[in-house]
């Protein structure tokens, strides 16, 4: 045990000393903050553009109603002011007026409007991408005209103006839960999913290369006469988990502090006033730990069968794809999409962590299934760790460029027969 402790101490300290660890730890929140900032900024500008685009107060508008459909040429614009469309003498006159920049937008309603239901809009090139917004005045005028000709209710039905008010009931374990409770339910799995994903991205390669290091640097023989392989592997797994959790704390704590400061200073928007269910959080924290343990053990297997870090990275990509497989089938984790694939991905150990978390996010994970999934992940994690240890014992001093599975498992059969 003391030797395992030495491995943990050595591995944790040297990981924490690496600049790459701190760069990753600091860059992720900075990158996230930048992304949020840029998104907020872009959203604000887009909002302004759209608003500016729909304002027609400063524009000169013209119309030629050949079909005599419109009952009025006046409408209330977005500034709540009455605005009138200037009558043009003909279609050609209206188009010429746009070309000569006498008017900004010209609407033409042809004689055949009853058959074609078409309104032609002519405007300046700089408005082309937002031409749709300039249909607003004519749409308003046509709707006003139509409403005068038919019954109000019929008009609402035809134009889709009826309000269909829907009330949904969320269920958990066959009990109805209210919306606020639902938000609380989502927080646990959503946070676990985000943390698991960040850990995979940040530490995925580090896990495998940590295992190849002894082999690649020809240290295996020296170290394996000082410590049992099982102690070395257990030490490595625990240390890599500790490093991952430290990374997570570095990411999460500043966010929590900022959130708390924002909450205390009433700086957060209403939708961002989150509430937490601590029992659910604790459950999903446990799921996160077990999932990360499984991921670590799988990475260790990849590391111990690989002769070099380069090979390890190739094998690691295959493993990561298997782990994130549920993301490609999100629909099957929603209550309405539940199918056989939902259960296959939920209980196939490598894909189980993300599948379980996604089901939790969509409220499609009964409590009994949560515990069953957790047990599945934990048990398979232990088996994977055991297999990693076994392979390491057999393969630690193989310096050949390829993994010799036949020899590896051939030797295994031989020793089991004994």
């Amino acid at each position: 045990m003391s030797k395992t402790r030495e491995v943990i101490r050595f591995e944790v300290i040297r990981n924490l000393k690496k600049p790459s660890f701190w760069i990753a730890a600091i860059l992720i929140p900075i990158g996230f903050a930048l992304y949020m900032g840029v998104a907020a900024l872009v959203g604000y500008n887009v909002g302004e553009t759209v608003e500016a685009g729909t304002a027609t107060s400063d524009l000169k508008l013209g119309v030629f109603d050949e079909a005599h459909y419109l009952s009025s040429k006046k409408f209330v614009n977005s500034d709540n002011k009455e605005q009138e469309l200037a009558e043009q003498e003909s279609k050609d006159a209206g188009i010429a007026a746009v070309k000569e920049q006498k008017i900004d937008v010209f609407y033409y309603i042809g004689n055949d409007f009853a058959e074609t239901n078409k309104v032609e809009i002519y405007t300046k090139p700089e408005f082309s991408s937002i031409t749709d917004d300039y249909s607003m005045p004519i749409r308003t005028l046509m709707a006003t005209t139509a409403s005068e000709n038919v019954d109000k209710i019929d008009f609402a039905v035809i134009t889709g103006a009826i309000n269909y008010e829907t009330t949904t009931f969320d269920y958990k374990d066959d009990h109805v839960i209210d919306a606020s409770e639902r938000v609380k339910e989502i927080m646990g799995p959503a946070l676990a999913l985000a943390c698991f994903y960040i850990l995979m991205v940040v530490l995925g390669n580090r896990l495998t290369s940590a295992m190849v290091e002894e082999k690649e640097n020809r240290i295996s023989e020296l170290i394996l006469t000082s410590i049992k392989p099982v102690n070395l592997i257990v030490g490595k797994i625990i240390s890599l988990m500790i490093v991952g959790l430290i990374q997570l704390v570095i990411l999460v704590v500043p966010m929590l502090i900022l959130y708390k400061l924002g909450q205390n200073g009433n700086l957060l928007p209403e939708w961002f006033q989150l509430s937490f269910d601590f029992v659910s959080l604790a459950q999903y924290a446990l799921l996160l730990v077990c999932s990360y343990f499984l991921f670590t053990a799988l990475s260790v297997i990849v590391g111990v069968i690989s002769p070099t870090a380069r090979d390890a990275n190739s094998y690691s990509s295959v493993m990561v794809i298997t782990v994130i497989l549920p993301i490609f089938f999100v629909n099957v984790f929603m209550p309405a999409g539940t199918s056989t694939l939902t259960y296959v991905l939920s209980y196939f150990p490598p894909s189980a962590p993300i599948a379980m978390m996604l089901r939790g996010v969509f409220g499609n994970l009964p409590t009994w299934e949560f515990w069953l999934g957790l047990a599945d992940i934990a048990i398979f994690g232990l088996l994977a760790a055991k297999l990693a240890t076994y392979i390491y014992c057999k393969n630690a001093i193989e310096f050949t460029p390829k993994v010799n599975f036949k020899r590896l498992f051939g030797t295994a059969r031989k020793s089991w027969k004994k």
Binding site: E213, E221, L222, T225, I227, F399, T411
Partner: protein, 246 residues
């Protein structure tokens, strides 16, 4: 608790094969406590495989390989120093950190003091905080040697110890081997340098095609081969045409 016998190592009817190839067919030998034992043979004759199996890194197909009367496991009550043929260190760590790690794994008392004394002795004191990959090959070999002897071993196994050593480091290595031997350490040497064997070894074993071709005290082996030098005996044995199957 196993009672100490005269022999620190006992290998009986050892056989091992990889895939279709039998590397060791039937090998038996003993190493006396406190002696220097030469394990000799041409490349691919199974010397390193024998050592790796003795240290539990490979699993034998048949026979038994015992250290202090039992199969070796790290953490047993025997201090072993092993300088493997394939040797390296954690390249991105400092000299001190790497030595400290191994010192702790080997339960060394006062590891810091031992490390600094050793680094001073091999003129690497100023490189204690330098990363291994910044050191020359010769400097790295000195560190490997330090790691190998830091626990004051009862059994020192050196697999081609002088491979790649310059004359200065080779002399240092020989000094350390002799020093350890004087302290009562048993030493097993795998080497191709017959002059070293003749000068240092008490007993030798010559391996060829997975079996012992000669085994016993140096004098007895030489007598068996008409008092030829070990160099000549080596050439005779390994130069002769293959008649037996691999």
């Amino acid at each position: 608790m196993t009672a100490k016998t005269d022999h620190i190592i006992e290998v009986n009817h050892f056989k091992i094969s990889f895939a279709e190839k039998t590397v060791i067919k039937d090998l038996s030998f003993k190493v006396k406590r406190g002696e220097i034992f030469g394990l000799l043979g041409s490349n691919g004759s199974g010397k390193t495989t024998t050592i790796r199996t003795l240290l539990g890194l490979y699993k034998e197909d048949k026979g038994e390989l015992l250290i202090n009367g039992k199969k070796f496991e790290p953490g047993d009550n025997i201090r072993i120093g092993y300088l493997p043929e394939e040797r390296g260190l954690y390249k991105k760590e400092t000299v001190f950190d790497v030595m400290m790690y191994f010192a702790r794994l080997r339960n060394l008392n006062n590891p810091k003091e031992w490390i600094m004394n050793y680094l001073k002795r091999v003129d690497l004191e100023e490189f204690a905080k330098t990363k291994i990959n910044k050191l020359s090959q010769g400097m790295q070999q000195k560190i490997q040697l330090g790691v190998c002897v830091m626990n004051d071993p009862e059994l020192l196994i050196l697999d081609e110890p002088t491979k790649g050593f310059d004359p200065v480091n080779r002399r240092l290595l020989m000094e350390i081997i002799e020093e350890q031997h004087k302290k009562g350490c048993t030493i097993i040497m795998i080497t191709h340098y017959m002059d070293e064997v003749e000068r240092l070894c008490d007993d030798i074993l010559l391996l060829k095609n997975g079996v012992a071709r000669a085994y016993g005290p140096v004098k007895a082996v030489r007598k068996e081969f008409d008092n030829k030098t070990l160099d000549q005996i080596f050439v005779d044995i390994y130069g002769e045409k293959e008649t037996d199957n691999e």
